[in-house]
């Protein structure tokens, strides 16, 4: 009985000691210097080493989180609070910059810009239309309105309004640039929110020709140039261009006499808050009915 107890305790303590010493020595001898933030983040992780995050272990996950390769929320074991703590910890490091949002440089929705033909392809995406004679719209620069940008936005910051125009919700937009990349017509630009004077047109056609294709096209009439402070706006290739280096001079004044409303003063959201169609009808969705 007593012998049993001694043996048990002896063996366990022995094993414990032995390996503790081995590991302690190894820990010191074999340590490699790394970004101290990795340790910090790892410290805040659950250490379950369960692989649920898809990474081979907590440390590797921490490395990737610090390197911004994966999202911290991938760790399903951490509580929400812990995740926020880590995000906050890393967020402080990230620093701050003026908030930017994506702006659409076209206002030619279904009502304003008319089409020459009907798209009959089965691939109903903007990219798909764009390779087919540049899309059915008369204006070769304008938005195709099939919402590739809406699909690609991970933050639900975009929806198609009922005019078929993708509308950015500034509060949700993180300026990730995905929509800028996907749009085949290059209609998005990431702008600081302080830029409020925006020309919502990219058509390089002159005056009446432009207007014949889209009722909100810039006709290069020059009124905004005249109404704005010197040098703020100029006409280049039949299009009004705002010189944002002089952004501090801008005011809604310049937009007042625009005959087509191609130049606008944007506070917050770009297009009217019409009744909206949220568009999680990604391409995937189109094929996939949830079962």
């Amino acid at each position: 009985m007593i012998a049993e107890i001694f043996m048990a305790v002896g063996i366990l303590a022995g094993l414990g000691l032995l390996f503790a010493i081995v590991l302690a020595v190894a820990y010191k001898k074999l340590r490699v210097e790394e970004d101290p933030r990795i340790d910090e983040v790892e410290e805040m992780l659950p250490h379950a080493n369960c692989g649920a995050c898809g990474e081979p272990g907590c440390r590797v996950f921490a490395e990737k989180v610090v390197a911004n390769e994966v999202k911290i929320s991938k760790c399903t074991v951490s509580s929400q609070a812990a995740i926020e703590r880590i995000a906050a910890y890393l967020g402080v490091e990230a620093g701050k910059e003026e908030k930017r949002v994506a702006r659409l440089l076209c206002a030619g929705g279904r009502k304003e810009a008319h089409s020459l033909a009907e798209y009959a392809g089965t691939l109903r995406t903007c990219r798909g239309e764009a390779v087919v004679a540049g899309g059915p719209k008369a204006c070769a620069w304008g938005c195709l309105g099939l919402g590739d940008c809406v699909d690609v936005c991970d933050f639900d910051a975009l929806y198609l309004n009922d005019d078929g125009l993708p509308t950015v919700i500034p509060d949700k937009c993180t300026a990730c640039g995905d929509c800028v990349e996907i749009c085949p017509k290059n209609l998005f630009e990431l702008m600081p929110e302080s830029r409020k004077l925006i020309v919502q047109c990219k058509s390089l056609l002159e005056g009446s020709l432009a207007e014949s294709k889209c009722s909100v096209a810039c006709t290069a009439c020059g009124r905004c140039v005249a109404d704005a402070p010197e040098g703020l706006i100029e006409i280049r290739s039949n299009l009004a261009v705002v010189n944002y280096e002089l952004n501090h001079l801008s005011s809604p004044e310049a937009t007042l006499r625009c005959p087509t409303n191609a130049i606008v003063w944007v506070e917050g959201q770009q297009f009217e808050k019409r009744p909206t169609v949220w568009l999680p009808l990604g391409r995937v969705e189109k094929y996939t009915e949830d079962i």
Binding site: M1, E4, I5, A8, V9, G10, I11, L12, A13, G14, L15, G16, L17, F19, A20, I21, A24, Y27, K28, P36
Partner: protein, 228 residues
């Protein structure tokens, strides 16, 4: 420059904790050992009793009429009866044992033998009773198997199958035949849809008998000599 700030702190932490961590682990091991020994000592008799009871039940089942049993061990090529109260063999020690069953009059009526054999899924471990006088198998019970429920596990439940072992002759060697074709005493009628498991049982009996029958034969001779 930040690094510099961090470095000494970490080094220091390591320095101081080296002793502490070893001692923490040592202590944890110590207490855990205590708890474990306690739990072990407390439950050991109960667990042992459970085991013994399970064993006894199995032996009684495969040796009808059995009222008590003694453990017999294979030592140096001979079967030797294990003394009462001898310590259990340690885990990991290789001992080969069978059990001798006695009826209520204290007469040796047969032996319970365990054996194992790969079946349909995994090893089948079973115990069976062997009557050396008549040279027949008198009972059979599966101890462990992973055979398919409803199919292969009939080898442990199906009365029809188990009835094969009421008096199964072991000479000529046991043979498995399809259902409905049993003609001789040494044949086991297979379970339809589970021929593999049935055959595994057959092989299990055959192998164990080849191993143990000569030994039992000698033991039996000696016993009879003594008895007579």
């Amino acid at each position: 420059m930040e690094e510099k700030n961090i470095q000494p702190v970490m080094a220091q932490e390591l320095e101081t904790s080296s002793f502490r961590l070893i001692s923490t682990l040592g202590l944890a091991g110590f207490f855990s050992g205590l708890v474990l020994v306690g739990a072990f000592l407390f439950t050991r008799p109960i667990i042992a009793a459970n085991r013994a009871q399970a064993l006894q039940e199995a032996i009684f089942k495969v040796l009808p009429g059995c009222a008590s049993f003694r453990t017999i061990e294979l030592r140096e090529g001979r079967l030797v009866m294990v003394e009462e109260g001898a310590p259990e063999p340690r885990e990991g020690e290789e001992v080969r044992r069978i059990y001798a069953g006695y009826n209520d009059k204290g007469k040796l009526i047969g032996f319970a033998i365990t054996g194992e054999e790969p079946g349909y899924q995994d090893l089948i471990v079973a115990i069976f009773g062997y009557n050396p006088r008549k040279e027949v198998v008198v009972g059979f019970e599966v101890l462990e198997s992973k055979e398919t429920p409803g199919l292969g596990d009939k080898i442990m439940k199906d009365p029809a199958f188990l009835s094969n072992f009421r008096a199964l002759a072991v000479e000529p060697p046991v043979k498995v035949v399809p259902k409905g074709e049993k003609k001789k005493d040494n044949e086991i009628e297979a379970i339809t849809g589970a021929t593999i498991s049935s055959k595994a049982v057959g092989r299990l009996l055959e192998k164990s008998l080849i191993e143990w029958r000569p030994l039992i034969g000698e033991y039996w001779k000696e016993y009879k000599k003594e008895g007579d």
